[in-house]
């Protein structure tokens, strides 16, 4: 009997972290997550990034960093001693219009995150040194010139004096702090607006669940803030100039008459959010599993092939599920028409007439409620249509065709 049980074999492909980082499925998941993150952010800026009054001088809490940076710039220009922001406009996207406002900052962020990720792969000692170096440089940049000039000034004038409020403007060394501070403020503004992207990228490539959660959290907070600030009750109280989305859904003219134009960006944002979330978390979940496997299992071809299976199916399902979620949501939001048609079956009855004409069905309420009913119906379809069996048959068929062709 003892001879029947073989020990674990070793294959060429393994599940070591170094190999996994270069595995195409993992990379595909990471790239999918990254693309969805970028697209989601761009879609969000398109939907939530405009003010009511389009005017270069007006500021509103829209999701557009250039508004804040321009307002800051204008404030600085109006100072008696005009100043300018240290990071140039071509880099921050100020002055551009449309999506052009975001590409450059996104590119810079990507470079920085790439650097950070590569740094994460180095030894702890090197990482610590680089971190210390960056921190030291930041501190030196902030206060270095100020402290040096102040000390030298005091040495040369043989006098102890405060670095501000002096009649001799050369002795107001505190002015050296303004430049660096402006840079930090500018960076802070950029980080604030691009927080979902920054933490999302760090999460995807640095394999950190908490950072992906941060990205999702900050996105939801931005959406929630926009919803709150554009809420009629708030808008009537505070003048914010924030462009609000229309209250009612219009006629379905997009996607072959399935969806109203107001819904399209929202639907895409929610889909991209889910794709980002699922791909980002999945990468970490799978790599974590492989990482925790004992050494012998990492080399075992059975584990490797099943790991591949899992990743391949996940990728397939990401595509399939995203498509179907989009379709089902679009159909669901169109379902109110279908309800009216269904009610028409009882043509001529008092109830069907009043339901057909009911305001409830015409307002967003009806649309959403009927959409929820449709979604529940779709969920219930699983008991009627054997999806797994159908997909299994298709898979088997594909395999047979492939085997025959081989």
């Amino acid at each position: 009997m003892a001879d029947d049980v073989a020990i674990q074999s070793e294959g060429i492909e393994t599940l070591h972290l170094k190999v996994l980082r270069r595995k195409w499925q993992i990379l595909a998941l990471q790239i999918t997550a990254t693309i969805s993150l970028f697209s989601m952010y761009i879609m969000m800026t398109r939907t939530y990034g405009s003010c009511d009054i389009i005017d270069s001088t007006s500021w509103c809490p829209a999701l557009d960093h250039t508004l804040t940076l321009s307002a800051l710039q204008q404030f600085l220009v109006l100072q008696p001693d005009p100043l300018s922001l240290p990071i140039p406009n071509w880099m921050t996207g100020v002055g551009n219009s449309g999506d052009g406002r975001y590409w450059m900052p996104l590119f810079v962020i990507s470079i920085l995150v790439a650097g950070w990720t590569i740094l994460g792969l180095q030894t702890a000692k090197l990482r610590r040194r680089v971190n210390m170096g960056i921190l030291g440089f930041a501190l030196l940049y902030l206060a270095g010139l100020f402290v040096i000039t102040w000390l030298i000034g005091m040495i040369f004038s043989f006098d102890l004096y405060l670095p501000f409020g002096q009649i001799d403007s050369n002795k107001n060394h505190v002015e050296y702090l303004v430049g660096p501070l402006l840079l930090y403020i500018q960076v802070f503004v950029l980080v604030f607006y691009f927080l979902p992207v920054i933490s999302g990228l760090l999460g995807i490539w640095g394999m950190s669940k908490s950072r992906i959660s941060w990205a999702i959290g900050s996105t939801i907070i931005y959406l929630g803030l926009h919803a709150l600030l554009s809420y009629e009750g708030v808008r009537s109280t505070i003048e914010l100039n924030l462009s609000a989305l229309p209250v009612q859904i219009g006629d379905a003219t997009e996607w072959g008459g399935l969806v109203a134009p107001e819904i399209v960006p929202l639907l895409i944002i929610s889909l991209l959010l889910m794709v980002f979330l699922e791909s980002g978390f999945a990468t970490i979940r799978y790599v974590e599993y492989a990482f925790k496997l004992p050494e012998s299992c990492k080399k075992d071809p059975e584990y490797v092939s099943q790991f591949d299976n899992i990743l391949n199916v996940h990728l397939q399902q990401t595509v399939g599920v995203s498509f179907f979620v989009g379709l089902v949501t679009a159909l669901a939001l169109k379902f109110d028409d279908l309800i009216v048609d269904l009610v028409s079956v009882f043509e001529g009855s008092q109830w069907s007439e009043q339901v057909k004409e009911s305001l409830e069905l015409q307002l967003t309420y009806g649309t959403v409620i009927s959409a929820m009913i449709f979604v529940i119906f779709i969920a219930g379809l699983r008991y009627i249509i054997p999806w797994p069996r159908i997909s299994g048959l298709i898979e088997k068929g594909i395999r047979q065709i492939r085997d025959q062709s081989v």
């Binding site: 007439e353 009911s358 409830e360």
Partner: protein, 541 residues
């Protein structure tokens, strides 16, 4: 088949699972009873009438058909008038309430007055709904409230009116061809808002005639107007005689009307409430509800019915004398059946369209009055009879009995949803509910633990500190020493017990141990250790 024995059932009832099942059944039984009681209060079956979507003699399908024929959208509200808040263009909207037949579920609410919390809502519309309707009027909407003995009081209160809730008998204007329940309300000029205002026919585009040439302003210069040119005033055009009716008066036929409370019918025009239609002086309100006309000495005697005249049609305008065509209006008539098919559509009645109804009402102005007010609300007053594309008439079907149980349930579900997303108190409760749900999920919903093989072998352990203490006592040590002495000398227990002390001392042959055996005293730890050491070495010599 196995029949459970009585004792078996008894045992099961006494078992924890049995007790649990009984408790659960009782709980669900109570819950079911509670629910059915509450639901039963609201879903009481009764006759279906006054619906704009019903075709019976006591429904209002003819009125709705007229509006539709004029090219205006008709819609219904099946859940709650709270939805009026969602109307984007209230100025182009008329909200028709014909009979508020039932109450519905509502929660206690916070109020601004000293009572802080208002535990009981009035019957009919809830306070939030009344606020929504009032707000609708404020935003320029028009409402038409036709009710007699229903639940319109709450809404009327909001506008400073009081429905008496008693049937009105008019000895002068009752219709002898029909019966005493049918009463005529004759209005010479429907646009005499107040004694000082004079006739304000210009407030209605159908009869606005600034130059007083007998042709309405919007038809100025047109001899034979087309249907399009007539707009919403086509009902005033007689195509046979090619004449346009400019009569500002209305003879309205009412069925079992009520009246507004005296003194509350807003004779004071300061609050923009204009009583327009009155009963005659010989009208009596059946205040004692005996179903008979009881005339008292002064008309105010206890037990006698109250004598007229009573206001029966009151118009409210947001603007003074309804001068601003874009401001909101409210029409209150104390008869819910003013626009029912049997009275509204006399031609239809004659042609037998409403089979059940066997009376033949006289020709009346109910239709003209109703369509006039629709025109006033929806047609522009700028002389060209334009109608907004958003123009719509909404019928409140939320407080009408539905012909099917399914319809009632559908409406109730919608009502609950809309109530919980619009009423502040209900919203607060729902927020709390959602919060609790999330808390519950976060605390209780745990994912299954990952499987991991844990190598653990049970630690048997053993130890008894009291036992250790016992083995440290001098008596125990003494006993062990004696056993040792006995063993070394190969003596039985009896032999050893019978041994004289001197012999024992000889056997032991160690002064310290002998002293230890014979002396009964407390020993210090050090002494004890020394004794044990000696015992250990004792046998080996």
């Amino acid at each position: 088949m196995a029949v459970p024995s009585l004792s078996g059932v008894g045992n099961w009832l006494r078992s924890p699972s049995g007790k649990r099942m009984v408790a659960l059944s009782l709980f669900y039984l109570t819950l079911g009873l509670l629910f059915s009681t509450v639901a039963g209060t609201y879903i009481t079956r009764s006759e279906v009438h006054q619906s704009a979507y019903g075709e019976d003699w006591n429904d209002m399908s003819a009125f709705r058909a007229d509006i539709k024929n004029q090219g205006i959208t008709t819609t219904s509200i099946v859940s709650s008038p709270l939805l009026l808040e969602e109307i984007q263009s209230p100025r182009d909207t008329v909200f028709v309430v014909s009979g508020i037949e039932r109450d519905t579920i509502s929660l206690p609410r916070f109020s601004a007055d000293s009572s802080v919390i208002q535990l009981v809502e009035g019957l009919g519309y809830s306070t939030s709904e009344i606020d929504a309707i009032s707000n609708f009027v404020e935003r320029g909407g028009t409402i038409v409230v036709l009710d007699d003995f229903g639940y319109a009081q709450g809404l009327a209160d909001e506008f400073g009116l009081g429905f008496s809730g008693h049937q009105l008998y008019d000895t002068q204007t009752w219709d002898p061809d029909l019966d005493f329940n049918y009463v005529w309300l004759n209005i010479t000029n429907g646009f005499n808002y107040s004694t000082s205002s004079g006739s304000r026919t210009n407030t209605n585009p159908c009869i606005a005639d600034e130059d007083s040439d007998g042709t309405p302003d919007f038809l100025e210069g047109i001899v034979v107007p087309t249907t399009e040119e007539l707009g919403l005033c086509s009902h005033r055009w007689d195509s046979i005689s090619a004449t346009y009716n400019m009569d500002p008066g209305y003879d309205l036929l009412l069925n079992q009307p009520s009246a507004f409370d005296k003194g509350e019918a807003g004779e004071n025009s300061d609050d923009n409430l204009y009583p327009i239609g009155f009963s005659t002086q010989d009208a009596y309100l059946d205040t004692n509800n005996d179903g008979k006309l009881t005339v008292g000495f002064s008309g105010t005697d206890a037990g006698s019915d109250e004598q007229g005249p009573f206001a029966m049609y009151v118009k409210y305008c947001r603007s003074r004398n309804c001068d601003n065509p874009d401001s909101g209006r409210a029409y209150f008539v104390t008869d819910g059946s003013l626009l029912v098919n049997s009275i509204y559509d006399t031609e239809g009645v004659e042609s037998g369209a409403y089979g059940e109804f066997n009376k033949t009402p006289d020709i009346n102005d109910n239709r003209r009055w109703a369509l006039d007010l629709i025109a006033e609300a929806l047609m522009s007053n700028d002389g060209n009879a334009s109608i907004s594309s958003d123009a719509q008439v909404i019928f409140d079907e939320s407080r009408h009995q539905q012909p099917s149980f399914m319809g009632d349930t559908y409406n109730l579900l919608y009502y609950i949803l809309i109530y919980f997303t619009n009423d502040w108190m209900a919203m607060l409760l729902m927020f709390l509910g959602l919060f609790v749900l999330f808390e519950f999920i976060i605390i209780k919903k745990l994912d299954p633990e990952p499987w991991r093989h844990v190598f653990s072998i049970i630690y048997y352990g053993y130890g008894d500190s009291r036992r250790y203490e016992y083995y440290g006592r001098a008596n125990k040590i003494k006993q062990i020493l004696l056993t040792r002495v006995r063993n070394v000398n190969s003596l039985t227990r009896e032999e050893f017990d019978a041994l004289p002390a001197r012999d024992l001392q000889k056997m032991v042959d160690d002064p310290v141990l002998i002293k230890f055996i014979f002396e009964d005293r407390r020993y210090s730890m050090e002494e004890m250790i020394a004794v044990i050491k000696r015992i250990k070495t004792w046998g080996r010599r």
